[in-house]
């Protein structure tokens, strides 16, 4: 088993763990963290793809690196926004474990 396969498996494990947490955890903060674990797995996959696609004499294919930089910025912005919203929600006194109620159930909603 070479390094690329190992990193690929690691990436798959992170994606699986993150996805599981994102779906099962009710707390928004948990969900945000799980999104980051899942995102980490996807970014690692880009690294694996870059290494696998390396031309002779190069350390890696540069295009996935360029994509990953953009994806990191996007993921960072998304995390910042989610945390900011969560802080505002706590400050406004709203419920944070909002996934427990089913919005379709109530006739008049909020």
């Amino acid at each position: 088993m070479n390094a690329i396969t190992l990193f690929g498996l690691g990436s798959a494990a992170l994606v699986g763990l993150g996805l599981f947490g994102l779906i099962t955890k009710p707390q928004p903060l948990h969900k945000i963290l799980c999104f980051n674990v899942l995102g980490g797995g996807v970014l690692l996959l880009f690294g694996v793809v870059a290494r696998r696609g390396a031309a002779a004499g190069l350390g890696g294919d540069p295009v996935p690196h360029a994509l990953v930089i953009t994806a990191i910025v996007v993921a960072f912005a998304a995390t910042a926004m989610a945390v900011a919203l969560l802080r505002r929600l706590v400050a406004a006194g709203g419920r944070t474990a909002s996934e427990s109620d089913h919005p379709d159930a109530g006739g008049d909603g909020a």
């Binding site: 994102l22 945000i32 696998r52 996007v74 912005a77 998304a78 505002r88 919005p103 006739g107 008049d108």
Partner: protein, 511 residues
């Protein structure tokens, strides 16, 4: 195959860059002089809105005149290394719809969100104008993006513009709705990104035209396509991923709800069409297309029934969006590679797009009308709206006209769209979609007439609005509803505009 000659910039290609850069520079102005509390941008939008509308119209005109896609190769670097912007018929139509709805919403929101003169800094106007421009930039980028990663960035920009719009009011329940929306959207985008990584790993390019020539049925593209499709379905709020939509769209201020329901959910649908029909044609099996459309059919029925059960007007309109989105997904089994007859295929293609455009106008008008009613009455509980039709006749007329389009009653854009889809499902021998379309139309009639019936009830004492609403905003609402109706005057036939720049896999649509 006109899209294959995409290596070089065509005449008029500069329009595509300007279409993205113009609203983006508006955001920079808004943020650059944030000290004036949105006063600058509130003035500057008087230039930006007409200019953006003119560019969208010019793009449509040029595309129509040339009869093939406009292409702009950014920086002169041809794909696969560079990025190409492409405008075909559907992009141009999407851009014009976006521009019209954004301009109408801006006219509608203008009086409500103009910065108060005595205050130095006002948060809501600055944020609203910035977000409107951000959503416009993102939607133009979604319409024009020529590779899957540019489309990912555009889709993220769209989400980041849409989420704060939900909680502009700042109440706890709207923040909760915004957070829920963001978490669903993040799940969708990370699944899409995972698919991108797999596709790049397998083919070494993300350009849509290059991919369409490379992709062959194999496990890796299948898994990638499944992940990306699921991600986009979550963002489009297709049943059963619709849970985030009603609280988010009902919680936003009326101008925001109009943009969210009319345009933002269509952005990810547009991307799904690009993915399934343009980038990876021939990869979706007939069973998968039936499954996606079945979810659409379930959305039509479930969303309509829930709309019927709502007690608040804005939630009713939001659930109606869940239902109307469902119609869009009927094009996957009816148009393109699975269509057995060319007539059915091209009817479904035009019908699906017309449903997108007419729903954009109708739903924008409906949310604006609901907002005006809520503002005038101080609440939007449907049961207590008896007699509001006499107090706000123009608004209720707009609501009714928009409702005609949702039901699919002639003459309205919704009628042409649903008729073409009906015709396609009959001529393709997939009669079950015809049943869903007809039942969905009946349910839509039920929930629209439930509101109209109460509103035009005769009351002993005339209903007095607690606050007057400006006539100008009522007229804008009516004008948008009339646009949805005017789309119904189009001929009941496949449109040539929507067939410009079709890829190789979609020839059946063009015949």
């Amino acid at each position: 195959m006109p899209m294959l000659s995409s290596g070089a910039t065509t005449t008029g290609g500069f329009l595509l860059v300007v279409a993205i850069m113009l609203p983006a520079s508006g955001i920079l102005i808004a943020l650059g002089c944030g000290g004036c509390g949105g006063r600058c941008i509130a003035h500057a939008q008087r230039v930006f809105l007409p200019a953006g509308l003119a560019i969208a119209a010019a793009t449509l005109g040029t595309t129509w005149h040339r009869g093939e896609s406009l292409v702009y190769v950014v920086g002169g670097f041809a794909p696969p290394l560079g990025i190409a912007l492409r405008a075909d018929g559907v992009s141009a139509a999407m851009m014009l719809t976006t521009a019209i709805v954004i301009c109408a919403v801006a006219l509608f929101a203008g009086p409500q969100f103009s910065p108060p003169p005595e205050q130095r800094e006002a948060r809501a106007p600055l944020v609203l104008w910035t977000l409107l421009l951000a959503i416009w930039t993102a939607l133009n980028a979604v319409a024009l993006g020529g590779d899957l990663f540019t489309l990912f960035v555009a889709l993220e920009l769209l989400t980041f513009g849409a989420v704060p719009l939900v909680c502009l009011g700042g109440e706890a329940h709207t923040i909760e709705a915004a957070l829920r929306y963001l978490l669903f959207a993040l799940l969708g985008s990370v699944l899409y990104l995972l698919g991108i990584a797999m596709i790049y790993g397998a083919y070494g390019t993300l350009d849509i035209v290059l991919l369409s020539n490379l992709v062959r049925p194999a496990p890796v593209p299948w898994v990638a396509l499944a992940l990306m499709t699921t991600g986009l379905l979550v963002k489009t709020a297709l049943f059963p991923f619709h849970l985030w939509l009603p609280p988010a769209h009902a919680g936003a201020p009326a101008a925001g709800s109009a943009v969210l329901s009319a345009l933002v959910v269509k952005g990810s649908f547009f991307l799904l069409v690009r993915l399934l029909f343009y980038a990876m044609p021939g990869l979706t099996g007939a069973a998968a297309a039936q499954l996606i459309a079945a979810l659409g059919g379930a959305a039509i029925l479930y969303g309509s029934v829930l709309a019927l059960r709502q007690r608040r007007l804005k939630l009713l309109v939001a659930y109606s969006t869940v239902a109307q989105i469902g119609y869009l997904f009927l094009i996957f089994p009816l148009a393109g590679p699975f269509a057995t007859g060319d007539a059915g295929s091209s009817a479904a293609w035009t019908g699906g797009w017309l449903q997108l455009f007419s729903h954009a106008f109708a739903k924008a008008a409906m949310f604006m009308a609901a907002g005006l009613i809520a503002e005038a009455m101080g609440h939007d509980r449907i049961a207590e709206l008896a007699g509001v039709g006499r107090a706000l006749p123009i608004t209720l007329t707009a609501f009714g006209l928009a409702g005609l389009s949702l039901m699919g009653v002639p003459p309205s854009g919704g009628f042409v769209a649903k008729w073409l889809l009906l015709q396609a499902s009959v001529s393709e021998g997939q009669w079950w979609w015809a049943v869903v379309i007809v039942v969905g139309g009946l349910l839509a009639a039920a929930y629209v007439f439930r509101v109209l019936g109460t509103a035009f009830e005769s009351t002993d004492a005339p209903l007095k609005p607690s606050r007057a609403v400006s006539r100008r905003r009522e007229v804008v609402t009516l004008a948008v509803a009339l646009l949805a109706t005017l789309l119904g005057l189009l001929p009941l036939a496949p449109s040539r505009l929507l067939q410009i720049g079709l890829p190789a896999g979609l020839e059946t649509v063009a015949r």
